[in-house]
């Protein structure tokens, strides 16, 4: 799923400025699973705003609403009857959702409450870890199912580098060395001959470097 972190309360207040009629908009998918922008987190942020403004003696109105997701127009459109009643929509979705809501309700101000970070998995409840960077050309079969682009700090395709120590990356003692993991996995599955092959230079065009991407399926269009 897409994972993010909620912005600091102070930063959200700063972005809201003097606006006091706020629609806090959550999303029931990725950001719910990683506990950053679902119905509960919408409740917490809304409550925090109310507590803060009540304490300051301000007048305000904070509405809570959670959509199934913010990356499909039909769901976003469902709030059209009341969205315009608010000065600002504070979206707790990932960056894609925030942008889509902004596009649907322009020129109404839409502010992100979440910093979208990575594509990842749930290691255990409460812990999520990065796994994919959307490079557009998946070679996971070559590396025992472990991605060197997303999980190696240097995205080496012929790793490890000289900084691998005790199975950890040189940048952080809590970060696994992706290439140690790959070598262990290739060894376990009897595929070490793959390690001996030199991975040639990569064509990065399939990734972000080639420019913003788009996908079309003609057979699915109405």
């Amino acid at each position: 799923m897409i994972v993010g972190n909620r912005k600091e309360f102070g930063e959200i207040l700063e972005k809201l400025g003097s606006r006091r009629r706020v629609l806090v908009l959550g999303c029931n998918e990725c950001v719910t699973v990683c506990g950053v922008g679902g119905e509960r987190e919408v409740g917490v942020l809304a409550s925090e705003l109310r507590l803060f403004w009540q304490k300051e003696g301000e007048t305000f109105e904070v509405k809570e609403h959670t959509l199934e997701r913010q990356c499909d127009y039909e769901y976003i459109d469902s709030i059209r009857p009341f969205a315009g009643d608010y000065d600002v929509i504070l979206s707790m979705a990932c960056g894609a959702g925030v942008q889509y809501v902004a596009e649907a309700y322009k020129p109404q101000l839409v502010i992100p409450a979440v910093n979208t970070t990575f594509l990842g998995v749930t290691l255990e409840q409460g812990v999520w870890s990065e796994r994919c960077q959307g490079c557009g050309n998946c070679i996971l079969d070559m590396t025992g199912g472990i991605c060197p682009i997303a999980r190696c700090a240097k995205s080496l395709l012929n790793g490890p580098c000289g900084g691998s120590s005790g199975g950890k990356c040189e940048i952080d003692k809590d970060t696994d060395c992706a290439w140690q993991l790959i070598i262990d996995r290739l060894t376990e599955s009897g595929q070490m001959e793959r390690y001996e092959e030199i991975q040639p230079v990569r064509d990065w065009r399939s990734g972000r470097d080639g420019g913003p991407r788009r996908r079309v399926r003609e057979d699915l269009k109405l």
Binding site: G10, R40, G57
Partner: protein, 114 residues
Amino acid sequence: MSYPSNVKVVKIPCTGRVDVLLILRAFESGVDGVYVAGCMEGECHFLRGNIRARRRVEYAKRLLDEVGLGGGRVEMFNMSASEGQRFAQCAQEMTERVRSLGPSPVRKGKGVLP
């Protein structure tokens, strides 16, 4: 056993039922402090409910600091179900603490648009 009259008791089957939102909404309604009284760690009938409650109380403290109410207004206490004395003692302790912190700067009904 007697405990201060300003303490309102809300009964729940296990402190694991306590959600961060319950705590925040209590403060929205105008209370000056909230404390969660759970079983001794290791003795939870539902195994780890009280441990989860403690984590949530810690999180609530941070949120209350963020909004400027102060994390001291929420607390977690552990006690055995039969320890009436301890219950009264915690009620007393929390009451004194909240008194010294002063009334919550949030007052029910103030500043909310119709």
